[in-house]
């Protein structure tokens, strides 16, 4: 653990001279590090460890229309450099969320990115309508990795038409000036086609990626480790998959804002996502082991950018897609270069006539 985690809350400031602001569609955020949905609840618990308003935004746990118990336990299994979870979207329902959680975030001066989840297209539209006129709402993230109860439980995010239908409904209901981001699942054959469908349906940006479906079997009980049998794999184990998804979508959709996430643990991890094309990043599972991780990653990212000579965060976005920088080798001037006057100024020495 670096010494940075020792600093008291509120003491981490980005490197002076680095402009860390980033723009996601119509909204400018003071910096590009966010929490990740499902890994920060609604910010209050983490506010004990750092000021939630210091981050670019707080992405809240996906909220549904009604209160929801989630699944039975066990809900979690640790895996190499990751974890498997099967929470089942436990939550208080949208009304309690608005009263208690969103109003608290707004009061604290945090920028809330509200993640919504539903079982039908209509659920998503209703949830979005409830968010209208709510102070503190900076953005909506649409969790489409949910079973569509109107289509035999087929996950919205695995079908371009179902994904587009949800995004279209959300966009129609969304307050103006509040960007709508679609959060995509990596468990698809071609993530670019889903991304294009969402953007075609009006998504202002994309969140990449949700968890990968995984499974662990307990070799003592000889049964699946999770009560829900399968679960979502997250953490550094999935980072290369996430970076690949950001890269592919950035290549296909050069102008669409991307919020990148998947196993970010350090500032350099975040920089990978940015170079692949992310306009901002979310720090998720790492928070479980290090509650101060988001502010630490922000600080480390700022330092990493400064070390590499960047003055503006946004200059690094998508840079890995550009051709490599050609370094002129040191040595004699290439033939044909015009000598500068200085280089040929006659030199005289003491004692010379």
């Amino acid at each position: 653990m670096s010494e940075l985690t020792l600093r008291p809350a509120g003491d981490i400031t980005p490197m002076p001279g680095i402009d860390m602001t980033t723009r996601l569609a119509s909204v400018t955020f003071p910096n590009p590090v966010f929490t990740a949905s499902g890994c920060a609840a609604a910010g209050q618990e983490l506010d004990q460890f750092f000021d939630v308003a210091e981050l670019g935004g707080i992405v809240t746990k996906s909220i549904m229309m009604a209160p929801r118990s989630g699944r039975a336990t066990p809900r979690m299994a640790e895996t190499p450099s990751g974890m498997l979870n099967s929470i089942g979207l436990q939550g208080p329902g949208i009304d309690a969320f608005l009263d208690k959680d969103l109003s608290w975030l707004s009061h604290r001066g945090a920028r809330a990115v509200v993640s919504i989840a539903g079982g039908t297209v209509d659920d998503y539209a209703k949830l979005t309508a409830k968010l209208r006129g709510r102070p503190g709402l900076a953005m909506i993230e649409v969790n489409i990795s949910c079973p569509n109860v109107e289509d035999r439980g087929q996950v919205f995010a695995c079908d371009p038409h179902a994904s587009a239908a949800v995004i279209q409904a959300v966009k129609r209901a969304a307050p103006t000036g509040v960007p709508v981001f679609a959060k995509l699942s990596p468990d698809v054959t071609d993530i670019v086609s889903i991304a294009q469908a969402c953007v075609g349906a009006g998504a202002d940006g994309l969140s990449l990626i949700n968890t990968l479906l995984g499974m662990v079997i307990d070799t003592d009980t000889l049964r699946p480790a999770l009560a829900g049998v399968t679960g979502g794999l997250s953490g550094p184990a999935i980072r290369p998959v996430a970076v690949r998804c950001v890269w592919q979508v950035r290549q296909a959709l050069p102008d669409v804002p991307i919020l990148g996430m998947g196993g970010i643990r350090t500032g350099l991890d975040a920089l990978e996502f940015v170079l692949a094309g992310a306009n901002a990043v979310s720090v998720g599972t790492t928070v479980f082991g290090d509650p101060r991780a988001p502010v630490r990653v922000l600080d480390e990212l700022a330092r990493a950018l400064a070390d590499r000579g960047f003055e503006r965060f946004e200059d690094a976005i998508g840079l890995a897609h550009k051709p490599p920088v050609i370094h002129v080798p040191e040595g004699p001037d290439p033939v044909g270069d015009e000598p500068t006057p200085n280089e040929h100024r006659p030199v005289s020495f003491e004692g010379e006539a």
């Binding site: 336990t73 066990p74 990751g82």
Partner: protein
């Protein structure tokens, strides 16, 4: 309010089948009450184990030659605790704590029975001291699989008016479970409150025996946790609220101490249909 501290191992010693680890963790001791726990990062900065390990706090010292210390007891269960057991004095250890809701202490000097299973006795020992300071009578029942898996009998003997020991294999004390001896002890001592910490099956039995006598019973549960601070939602169990409704509540922030008669012991690990917002068969998403 918990703190995150880069602590330093002061000592680690074997106690029977367990390890007792003391860590210099400035700022944590003064906030700690009996029943609080600490969440420990394992495996070092590049560890492939991302999740913290949670342990009940056994002892704290607010000041000392080395500054405030926190001591916890653990058994080696897997790679994370094996790594922890291999730490040596002066090794660095990242701690978050104190976490959770501690035991509530009675306002009057009552007669209390404390029941510990395995190293579940760890948080009960400071609790016993706090109860004694309030003029309470304290009786202990400590149980374990075998004598080497008991923890704190000597401390308990020193603090309490009486102590009964049970082991599954009969290697020390009564052969059997704590629930074999608890009813008679409750009746004999005229116990007015019960506190317990240990495996779920033991907590269930103790809660039922206390409830049968109308005794208030507080239990500290040991649920599997990923974060310990209330954000991951993995450590939930079905608990009846003041409104009579059952919810899946987080044992890390709403617990680990619960009223024994509020926990629906038989429904842990399942999803009763009357839980608020209970998922039906069509539920999903993660």
């Amino acid at each position: 309010m918990p703190v995150q501290v880069q602590g330093e191992v002061l000592s680690i010693r074997k106690v029977g089948a367990y390890n007792a680890m003391t860590v210099v963790a400035p700022g944590m001791a003064e906030l700690t009450r009996p029943g609080h726990f600490v969440a420990v990062q394992v495996g070092g900065p590049e560890s492939s184990m991302l999740l913290r390990r949670a342990f009940a706090i056994y002892d704290v010292k607010e000041r000392g030659v080395y500054g405030g210390t926190v001591e916890f007891i653990f058994a080696v269960h897997g790679k994370g605790t094996a790594w922890l057991a291999a730490r040596r004095p002066q090794d660095k250890l990242d701690l978050v704590g104190p976490l959770g809701k501690p035991f509530r202490l009675p306002a009057q000097p009552v007669t209390a029975t404390l029941v510990g299973g395995g190293y579940g006795s760890a948080p009960l020992l400071p609790l016993a001291t706090a109860l004694r300071e309030r003029g309470c009578r304290v009786d202990f029942v400590l149980g374990a699989g075998s004598a080497d898996r008991l923890f704190g009998q000597l401390d308990a003997k020193r603090i309490a008016s009486s102590i009964e020991v049970t082991t599954d294999d009969g290697s020390l004390g009564h052969r059997g479970r704590v629930s074999d001896v608890l009813p008679q002890l409750l009746d004999r001592t005229g116990a007015e409150v019960v506190y317990a910490c240990g495996p779920m099956a033991m907590l269930k039995a103790v809660s039922e025996q206390a409830a049968a006598r109308d005794l208030p019973c507080q239990v500290a549960v040991e649920e599997s946790m990923a974060c310990g601070i209330g954000v991951c939602m993995t450590c939930v169990l079905p608990v009846v609220g003041d409104d009579g409704l059952t919810r899946l509540v987080r044992s890390c922030v709403e617990g680990p101490v619960f009223l024994g008669d509020r926990v629906r012991w038989n429904d842990i690990g399942s999803l009763p249909p009357d839980v608020v917002g209970s998922l039906n068969a069509a539920g999903g998403g993660h």
